[in-house]
């Protein structure tokens, strides 16, 4: 297992290189001259040359890339062109808001998905199961930006229960309810479906039959024998779902004016603040890669049956 973990950590290296290359080349994906995009048609030639130098575009691309890579390795994610501060500082300032939203969304999703999935599986082919299943596939099909907007319409505009947008600090719980539901619903729906199918599979296993024939109570069998084993694929799939949470969080933060990293990225894109876009993208992607690594390693502890070649 130690070798597996080591190998898994070494696999990060090509991913890291790919991340830096893609992040670096974002600057070259802009249509036309990125310097012109930023200063517009009214800039002077001196301003143009100055900005060009500042963005490092006066040197050959490979030199720029190597400098960029060295900077990243030293924790320098670039400096915002407009706010004139290191991108990493700006990102870290917004980290608490993003973490709060992500945590609330995942908490909402998991705490509903698992009970719903278990009930569906235990009551398979009853009306409860059908309702849960249909609700789940509906939840997977709704775009979160629309669902979020509808939540604002219903619960803020119509009923005035929650503030429509903004952030009330880490203790402003009333602000986090709607964005967390909007962001967490897709995760909740897909985890509920997965819990259901995983439970159904486990309930057919021999050891469940053995447990039943021993005369154990049905609830004991479901929770002690079936549920624990059914949980394994559910836990890993949260890792797979992280990708859509990361993208969804950006949209949700924009809708709810949530001062997190996603909204910072969005604003940076709109202003063509390339270093800040690169910094945000780099930061989010590396966090994402690390989280997946941690989940994979945890997985080896949760499920010792798996052999790692």
């Amino acid at each position: 297992m130690f070798r597996y973990i080591l190998r898994r950590i070494l696999q990060i290296i090509p991913v890291f290189i790919a991340v830096t290359i893609i992040t670096f080349s974002l600057l070259y994906m802009a249509p036309g001259d990125p310097v012109m995009l930023i200063i517009g048609e009214y800039g002077t030639h001196e301003q143009y040359l100055e900005l060009r130098r500042q963005m490092g575009l006066d040197r050959p691309p490979y030199v720029q890339y190597i400098e960029y890579l060295l900077g990243v390795l030293h924790g320098d994610l670039g400096t915002s062109l407009f706010i004139k501060r290191p991108a990493l500082d700006l990102i870290l300032e917004r980290l608490p808001a993003t973490l709060m939203l992500a945590f609330a969304a995942i908490l909402f999703a998991v705490s509903l998905a698992i009970p719903l999935g278990i009930i569906s599986a235990v009551k398979q082919n009853t009306i409860i199961d059908y309702i849960c299943e249909f609700g789940a596939i509906f939840g997977v099909s709704m775009p979160e930006f629309w669902f979020g907007t509808m939540l604002i319409f219903l619960f803020s505009v119509r009923f005035g229960l929650f503030p429509p947008s903004g952030w009330g600090g880490l203790l402003g719980l009333q602000y986090v309810v709607l964005p967390a539901i909007a962001l967490g619903t897709r995760l909740m729906a897909s985890e509920a479906r997965l819990t259901r199918s995983s439970m159904l599979e486990v309930l057919r296993e021999d050891y469940v039959r053995t447990a039943r024939s021993k005369g154990l109570s049905e609830w004991y069998v479901i929770f002690k024998h079936a549920f624990r084993n059914a949980l394994i694929p559910v836990v890993t799939s949260i890792g797979m779902q992280l990708s859509s949470i990361v993208g969804g969080a950006l949209i949700i933060e924009v809708i709810f004016a949530w001062p997190g990293i996603g909204r910072l990225t969005f604003q940076a894109i709109q202003m063509y603040d390339f270093p800040l876009v690169q910094g945000c993208f780099m930061f989010i992607t590396l966090t994402f890669v690390l989280m997946n690594l941690i989940i994979d390693i945890l997985y080896t502890y949760i499920d010792p049956r798996i052999k790692y070649k």
């Binding site: 596939i137 629309w146 509808m150």
Partner: protein
């Protein structure tokens, strides 16, 4: 004694068997009907739409749903229903072409990786793993945001981020097929690698391909609408479901119909593809893990 007729064994094509299994699943049929209706609406938009989606009527701005305009009008008096109908075209165009692009690349990569194995397999799967470890939705948002509104880039981006999925599914299928006897027989008859790949293996892998492609249409439509919503997809005045919701947001207090109906259009379409894909999977191969 009556002579009993020999029982006729009716040969059924695999397609007929799958169709029979599929037909029994009412929910999947509903999904298929939604999908077919969606393609019809998109293709026949000029005939079905009651108004020109760009026609401005400044005397009737923001009118609520009613007799003249079934789903109301937007801030400059354009008919919401007609714009939703035309919006189906963009999502269909982007979704279908993106899935085709992704499937084509994924099939080629998966076939080669699964069939030849060895170093080629290692290289392709390494690249795949690297792509897999990216938060692809974020990548699509950032790239689309920087490149700016452009249909071909949009199709390219949405298509590319789906490739790793296809490559995995195809490779897995090829690995399970390539050791079968009929492949060995084909080789014994002197078939070349290309012929085996495209005439023997690919047709047998078509089921999983169709299932994945159907399911990823749902994802492609969602991604397109999200990008359009953020202003990184197709720019107004061309109506898309995403940019309609985005521009309707400032009227949330007074005219919720500007937001509600385009959202229902997205949800229904995506729901249709999801149900259809689920049903196809159950009919073709219930064990398929996607």
């Amino acid at each position: 004694m009556q002579e009993s007729k020999p029982k006729q064994v009716k040969r059924q094509s695999e397609f007929a068997i799958i169709w029979r299994r599929f037909k029994r699943n009412k929910i999947a049929m509903a999904g298929m009907i939604i999908v077919v209706a969606y393609y019809f609406i998109a293709i026949l938009a000029p005939i079905l739409a009651p108004y020109d989606p760009q026609e401005i009527d400044l005397l009737n701005p923001l009118s609520p749903p009613g007799k003249d305009h079934l789903l109301g009008t937007d801030p400059i008096g354009r008919d919401v229903l007609s714009r939703i109908i035309y919006g189906a075209r963009i999502s269909l165009l982007v979704g279908t072409l993106a899935v085709l692009l992704g499937v084509t690349i994924g099939i080629l990569a998966g076939l080669v990786a699964g069939y030849y194995g060895g170093n080629i397999d290692d290289v392709i799967m390494r690249i795949n793993d690297v792509m897999w470890s990216f938060p692809v939705t974020l990548l699509a948002i950032v790239v689309a945001g920087i490149v700016g509104p452009n249909v071909s880039y949009l199709i390219f981006i949405i298509g590319i981020i789906m490739v790793p999925r296809y490559t995995r599914v195809i490779r897995g299928t090829v690995l399970s097929i390539k050791e079968r006897d009929y492949i060995l027989a084909a080789r014994a008859l002197g078939c070349g690698n290309l012929r085996i790949l495209f005439r023997q293996i690919l047709p047998n892998a078509i089921g999983p391909i169709i299932v994945v492609a159907t399911m990823s249409m749902a994802g492609a439509i969602l991604t397109e609408s999200g990008l359009s919503f953020l202003g990184f997809g197709i720019a107004p005045p061309t109506p898309t479901w995403g940019n309609m919701i985005a521009s309707g947001r400032q009227y949330i207090r007074t005219c919720p119909h500007l937001i509600i109906y385009p959202g229902i259009a997205i949800t229904l379409t995506v729901l249709g593809f999801n149900l259809f894909g689920d049903g196809l999977r159950d009919a073709i191969d219930p064990r398929l893990k996607i």
